[in-house]
């Protein structure tokens, strides 16, 4: 299956290829299939924090413009498209509806544009980067070990994610004998090039936020190292240009090592030599009320606060998925475990002098449910 010649003479287009997931996917593809021709389309050119191999082509394309997209695809004529471009509303906006229109435009219309143009230019394989959160709809319920049979919701409270679900539905519906499509659903992402998750967890040390635990701290989450989701993209392309057993399917992709979010943070802090001196357990109910108060404050003052009922529920949620389907059909296995991935992330971080945006832990927890 993973014969290096499969994609040898193929052209692959990666949208959002200068981003976190996109650039990692380009690197993985170039590593495994050196003779494969890769073109990146993105709004912004390659940046130093997301390195892409030198021989990849870059084209500046705005995916919300149908004409630009179709022009680019007609010109490149790729055999496969990996569509990683998308937007997830940042942090505080996650539970609000401020960026509603933009999210809709990029995630749903943008994906639609890509699908139309791809079908017209004879693309064989189309892979979409979704998120595991398309399934976790009703936030009051736990989601232990969910599989792909679970329903997705397009009316979720979490606006950005619901739009991803809508886009995913478009992609899966478009699968045909001409163009096979599939969707990959990673969980919380971390790894090199992550300027949000690890840095903001690190920032909690300076703000004395490390002792606080909301809920029992035993709820399990999935995390995904970015090179693992990159591997999954390569496997999906290989599948869709050969056996096509993944056509029209969605797959949960994660490290398959569910971990409590609390422990994930503790490990990062420990890497920087910090152990919380004591622990304060905040009962979920109390935090929920505090979230409600903050939301009312937002409503009154118009300023967004970081704490909300949604973010509290996020912090206490159980969300992990089964990796069986991805393993059976794509042959996916996490190559980089959490431990190794975390070590790499933290090493990069301690060598760098960059000043990161400081985000409170609470908002970080809400963000953690979102993949970039």
């Amino acid at each position: 299956m993973s014969d290096k010649t499969i994609l040898g003479s193929k052209k692959v287009l990666v949208s959002g290829g200068t981003g976190f997931v996109g650039s990692a996917t380009v690197r993985a593809l170039a590593d495994k299939h050196p003779s494969c021709a890769i073109t990146i389309i993105d709004r912004s050119p390659p940046r130093p924090q997301h390195v892409v191999p030198e021989k990849t082509e870059f084209m500046k394309v705005d995916i919300t413009s149908p004409s630009e997209v179709s022009k680019a695809l007609q010109m490149i004529r790729p055999d496969a498209v990996i569509h990683t471009a998308g937007i997830v509303p940042a942090l505080a906006d996650r539970f609000g509806r401020r960026v509603e229109r933009e999210v809709w435009k990029i995630n749903v219309q943008g994906t639609g544009n890509m699908l139309d143009a791809a079908a017209k230019s004879g693309v064989e394989a189309f892979i979409y980067t979704s998120t595991c959160c398309v399934t976790t709809d009703d936030m009051r319920l736990p989601y232990p070990n969910i599989d792909e049979e679970w329903p997705t919701s397009q009316t979720s409270l979490i606006y950005g994610e619901s739009k991803v679900a809508a886009a995913e539905a478009l992609v899966l519906k478009a699968s045909s004998s001409h163009m096979a499509t599939c969707s990959l659903r990673p969980s919380v992402l971390f790894g090199p090039g992550d300027y949000q998750l690890v840095p903001s967890i690190h920032a909690c040390i300076a703000k004395y936020e490390t002792p606080f635990i909301i809920g029992d701290g035993l709820n399990l989450w999935d995390v995904t190292h970015v090179s693992n989701i990159a591997d999954a993209h390569v496997l999906a392309v290989e599948n869709l240009v050969t056996s096509r057993t993944a056509a029209g399917e969605a797959f949960f992709i994660q490290n398959n090592e569910p971990i409590t979010f609390r422990d994930f943070c503790l490990v990062i802090w420990a890497h920087f030599g910090h152990v919380p001196p004591f622990e304060v357990h905040i009962p979920e109910g109390l935090a929920y009320v505090a979230g409600l108060v903050c939301e009312m404050a937002t409503w009154v003052t118009g300023r967004t606060t970081t704490l909300s009922r949604g973010s509290v529920r996020d912090a206490c949620a159980v969300r992990y998925a089964s990796g069986d389907k991805a393993n059976a059909i794509l042959g996916y296995e996490a190559r980089i475990g959490i431990e190794e991935g975390m070590r790499l992330s933290c090493e990069v971080r301690s060598h760098s002098k960059r000043i990161y945006t400081h985000l409170p832990l609470i908002c970080l927890m809400s963000m953690a449910g979102v993949s970039g």
């Binding site: 319920l141 989601y143 232990p144 969910i146 679970w150 422990d263 490990v267 992990y320």
Partner: protein, 473 residues
């Protein structure tokens, strides 16, 4: 602790007492041994079973009659082998052939062994070993072959170990050696038992195709014992903790017991626990393959005791100072939970895994590994017994109700209307009774009009009786 000590302890720990009472009162053995038809040699065998093992004899004696005797004999044979190996007074020249040929003695009528030193606690078993041999020969040939094969493997394994101990350093160095040692001591027993279960059709034959599962069953128990008994073994100059693990934390094995290396000792202890926890998933998987209640109980009780012991020992410095043990109440609670079904047992495992998880600290170099291992166990339990399924989730999204929910709702509505009906009847009765009383009072001449007037003018109480004044005489 003594009886009074126990009584005081239990008086202050009512939940423990409750567990003990529950176990004693409510536990119904799936099979009870019928001692009436036992032969003389059988009675002797069961007597030795009681003497040599307190913990195992209860569960063995509740086994299905088909396997009761074979497993008793199997246990006694291995115990006999162990008694020879443990006895340091027997010189190697005598010991080695005894261990290697032990399987042949099983078919030699009247064989016994009197060469043990008097202080060896199970000496008597070997002195009267001819009884075990008689029972061995009465077993089905298939069972005999299994017991003999395992005795052969274990006897040779022990002999190899003794030779190695005499000629070179026998301390456990690598994790691989540690696993191998545990395999000889406990893993082989697991193999023998599994073959007996499958032969008797009490176990899924697929268990034979995945030998790593039964290997894990044995290794998990043995590793837990080794972690718990660290102090006792150290005092007896035995070392089972592999150097590959302890050398990461201390320079010399003895340092583990020095107070100045307390942190290092705890970290070493947690790495040992982590090593044992890696077997849990396979143990649960194995238990899912058992088909008979008594066999399930027989396998499940030691496993739940082991995870509870592991939880007790995890990052507990007391293990380096003395022998720690789970309390009798906890043991009874675990036995109750291990003798129902796999689901109940899994919930126990989940509870204890979480307890271990809670004691995990980021100061520990293996913090993340332990956290992930605990998470994986929980995920595994969730795969065998999902707490929710996709069908329910779909219904929830579409707003439909499941059959049970609909029925429940209907029953609730019925209950509600019943309650309303009852209340209404009571109201009517009260009205009637009140009406009758008022009517009766009116008939008897009560002046409601005067009463009404008084109330309207604000006199709610009857006028106070005039106070009696005592005139001076």
């Amino acid at each position: 602790m003594g009886f009074i000590g126990n009584a005081i302890y239990l008086a202050f720990h009512p939940t423990q007492l409750r567990s003990i009472i529950q176990w004693k009162v409510w536990h119904n053995p799936p099979h009870e041994r019928n001692a009436k038809n036992d032969t003389e040699t059988q009675i002797i065998c069961y007597k030795f079973l009681d003497q040599t093992s307190r913990s195992f004899s209860t569960v063995i004696k509740e086994l299905h009659p088909e396997l009761l005797l074979p497993i008793t004999v199997f246990y006694l044979v291995l115990r006999g082998l162990d008694t020879i190996e443990d006895d340091t007074s027997i010189p190697l020249e005598t010991k080695e052939p005894l261990l290697r040929n032990f399987k042949d003695f099983l078919t030699q009528d009247g064989w016994n062994f009197t060469g043990n030193r008097p202080e060896e606690k199970d000496r008597e078993l070997l002195v009267q070993f001819q009884n075990v041999i008689t029972e061995f020969k009465n077993m089905k040939p298939a069972y005999q072959a299994i017991v003999k094969d395992i005795t052969d493997k274990m006897g040779n394994g022990m002999a190899d170990y003794c030779v190695k101990a005499a000629t070179e350093d026998a301390s456990v160095k690598t994790i691989e050696e540690y696993d191998l040692y545990c395999f000889y001591v406990a893993g082989l027993v697991g193999e023998g038992l599994t073959r007996l279960f499958v032969e008797a059709e009490f176990g899924n034959p697929a268990l034979m195709k995945r030998p790593e599962l039964q290997k894990s069953m044995g290794l998990f128990l043995q590793k837990t014992n080794i972690i718990r008994d660290i102090r006792e073994d150290f005092d007896d100059e035995r070392r089972f903790w592999p150097k590959e693990i302890w050398s990461k934390h201390v320079n010399e094995f003895e340092d583990l017991f020095k107070p100045e290396h307390k942190e290092a000792a705890l970290n070493c202890n947690s790495e040992m626990v982590l090593n044992a926890l890696e077997h849990v998933e396979e143990c649960l998987f194995y238990l899912a393959g058992l088909r008979e209640q008594s066999v399930f109980n027989f396998c499940a009780i030691p496993q739940s005791m082991a995870i509870a012991t592991l939880e007790l020992c995890f990052r507990n410095y007391a293990v380096f100072e003395r022998n720690v043990k789970i309390t009798k109440g906890d043991a009874c609670e675990l036995m109750v939970q291990s003798t129902q079904n796999l689901n109940v047992l899994c919930q126990t495992f989940r509870r204890l895994t979480r307890a271990i998880h809670k004691k995990n600290t980021p100061k520990d170099p293996n913090f993340l590994k332990i956290s992930i291992t605990c998470g994986k166990i929980e995920k595994f339990i969730e795969t065998i017994f999902p707490s929710q399924n996709a069908e329910d989730a779909k219904r929830r999204v579409s707003g439909e109700l499941s059959k049970e929910e609909l029925e429940k709702r209907k029953a609730e509505a019925e209950n509600k209307s019943d309650v309303f009906f009852l209340l209404a009847i009571m109201g009517v009765i009260i009205l009637i009774v009140a009406g009758v009383m008022v009517a009766a009072a009116w008939m008897l001449g009560a002046r409601f009009d005067l009463a009404w007037q008084e109330i309207r003018s604000g006199n709610f109480r009857p006028p106070a009786p005039k106070s009696l004044t005592h005139n001076e005489l």
